[in-house]
Symmetry: C2
Subunit: 401 residues, 2 copies
């Protein structure tokens, strides 16, 4: 059995980023840049006022002096002349500081009457002036390639004058649930059958990771049905199967796909939940076979599928971040398999994250997976830990999961 | 000037959740439930095997005994008979445990040859059997109303047999940028003009908060243009303006909208960045006027607009969560306004979050807003703090911002 780390290295090593597409800035939130975004202008483009007030020559604007109003400079309407000795120009936040002026007399520090402005507080040169380029200069790299665009990055790319952005297209991830026992929600459930939850949960995970899911019809436990579904997935960047991966007589996925050109890389990982995990290639298409248990399927989805989609989408070697936490309750020693325990998070009095693993970790219990805030990691052969011991967790909300 | 807390209380108190719509489970990720999701079945529906192996009577399955193979029970194909004394039924993970059996002999603890199964490890009654209802029972509430659906919740709702879900429709948020100095990205920029970044950054923020943005054309600094834009926004659940809110002669938003029926509640908040913030109602439509500075606009968007969209979308009184952190560097004392400082986060050796405020906090510097991981909160009149002091931060990635 492979370690989680080795399996992940082999998975990520086999994936290439998909190509780029052009999207409108307004559609680019959450997308991954395929090229850096460089500033197309300098911001601010000239020295501008940071406040409403009067543009003045600082040397003239001494407390008690009266200046003569020479004009007005609203934002977007620069004053065409220059500020001469003893003069002031009414100015507003964001407006270009007129030639000649080197300071701003704040509105609340002035008494204006007709054409006369009384200085009530001496002005310092440069004060309340934003110099040209304070935020950024033309050709400066604002955002690097491989970066997933936040809300704030959209603002920055707009300010840099980019109506269009080059982003990686969203990787298309085929999702194939297999099994005679499963039905789609709302459809008739056979005797001993259950409702399929994996495909739609994984589809949401694919979206959260930046991919586009393609949910294929459920394939019965039948070589021909699975082989046909495999053929249908040729247009995907990655095919994910769920179910049919374990050691019993009913592991059909490998059997069905071998004649379709499936090349297996590995299929067992020393982890819990989720030991059976197929990784290989169906023709050109990478294939990840996740376990059928809903919790195993989601945990393996977080540990392996999430970084695989990130890598396909232009963010290579990005792993779900591990955050330090303290145990709220003791944990027994671990066996030879890495364990990802469902846990609740809270905050200790001193501000540290506290993680409490659910007492029952059965991989069929989806409700505790939904109630969890984090996955608590236990290394293979980790010793028993007392309450308060340091552990690492994957915070699920941080990944949008 | 109002405090941030009082302003937020007045904003949230004025908002009612929008109505519900029915969406397919596959479109429900990130939506907010308008009704609880109750289990429509019991899961597992009967006692099922947790492993591949043999269903046996535990009393018979003592190490060294040979049992007679009586049949097979794959998942989805329950064994129709019952397991008699001295018998075993081949069973697979997830399959219903046949009548008569009360334990599972693991595959690796058995030697099967023809119709004979040798028990190599004594079986304990109940071991490796998942009892009916282990995950949930019919009519149990799986997910409450007002809950925003995670990836895992989609799986749980599917397992509970829900093809459709009742969710709050996404609140429609009109966004109106005003100003003579601003142009859309890629369009001609006038002398002293800048490229408008607020509208599209706020549109992305609206999406992250679960709303649908409607970006209105830029309104020039002109009473008629703003009044007309105000009329166009009547179909929105909330109208957000940006720019034109400050104290200068050019605050046109209030002036333009008064004849359109605008009722002001308040317009100044004791915070930085972002002092000018209009809150009121234009006819039936709540109106939030954000400052024109890009950083002020985003910070006020996080502090006021994000919870307003949550409240409209069915999550009342939800505020951006505050996380404890320690200061990486000392901070000077604060004045009378609450401050939201852009900060980077790292992790200290002991696992605590470390927050370092950017040295320059000018509200026109969007690049530092894009580079920030968090907003670091300083209460009004907060004393000077040494490095290592406890502070609170809003972690931006946690909100998808």
């Amino acid at each position: 059995m492979l370690s989680v780390e080795e399996a992940r290295t082999r998975i990520l090593g086999a994936l290439e980023p998909v190509g780029a597409e052009t999207v409108a800035l307004s559609e680019a939130w959450g997308r991954v840049l395929a090229a850096p975004v460089q500033a197309r202008l300098t911001q601010p483009p000239a020295d501008v006022s940071a406040m409403d007030g009067y543009a003045v020559r600082a040397a003239d604007a001494v407390e008690g002096t009266r200046l003569t109003l020479a004009g007005t400079a609203p934002a977007g309407h620069p004053f065409p002349g220059s500020v001469g000795p003893g003069e002031a120009v009414r100015i507003f936040t964001g407006a270009v500081v007129p030639a000649g002026a080197d300071g701003i007399l704040l509105q609340e520090d002035a008494d204006a009457a007709g054409q006369s402005v009384l200085v009530k507080e001496t002005v310092r040169a440069g004060r309340w002036i934003r110099p040209a380029g304070l935020d950024f200069a033309t050709d400066e790299t604002l955002l690097p390639a491989g970066h997933r665009l936040t809300v704030r990055d959209i603002g920055l790319a707009a300010a840099g004058n980019h109506p269009w952005l080059s982003v990686h297209r969203a990787p298309r991830i085929g999702i194939l649930a297999t099994g005679d026992e499963i039905s789609l929600p709302g459809e008739p459930v056979g005797p001993g059958g259950i409702v399929s939850s994996n495909a739609h949960a994984l589809a949401a995970l694919v979206r959260a990771a930046g991919g586009v899911p393609l949910v294929l019809p459920i394939a019965r436990d039948d070589v021909d049905a699975i082989a046909e579904a495999g053929r249908a997935a040729r247009g995907c960047d990655l095919l994910v199967t769920t179910g049919g991966a374990s050691v019993g007589d009913h592991d059909l996925v490998q059997k069905a796909l071998l004649p379709e050109g499936f090349k297996l890389d590995f299929w067992q990982i020393a982890m819990r939940p989720g030991k059976p995990l197929i990784w290989g290639r169906l023709g050109e298409t990478p294939l990840m076979g996740l376990p059928g248990n809903p919790v195993s399927s989601l945990v393996c989805g977080i540990v392996f599928l999430w970084p695989a989609i990130a890598a396909l989408g232009g963010r290579p070697n990005l792993l779900p971040p591990l955050r330090p936490a303290r145990l709220a309750e003791p944990l027994a020693e671990n066996d030879k398999r890495a364990e990802y325990m469902r846990a609740r998070l809270s905050t200790a009095d001193d501000g540290m994250l506290l993680a409490a693993a659910f007492p029952k970790q059965d991989s069929s219990m989806l409700k505790t997976m939904a109630r969890a805030d984090a996955l608590l990691l236990r290394a293979p052969h980790a010793p028993a830990l007392a309450a308060g011991a340091a552990v690492e967790v994957i915070v699920l909300s941080e990944l949008g999961l």
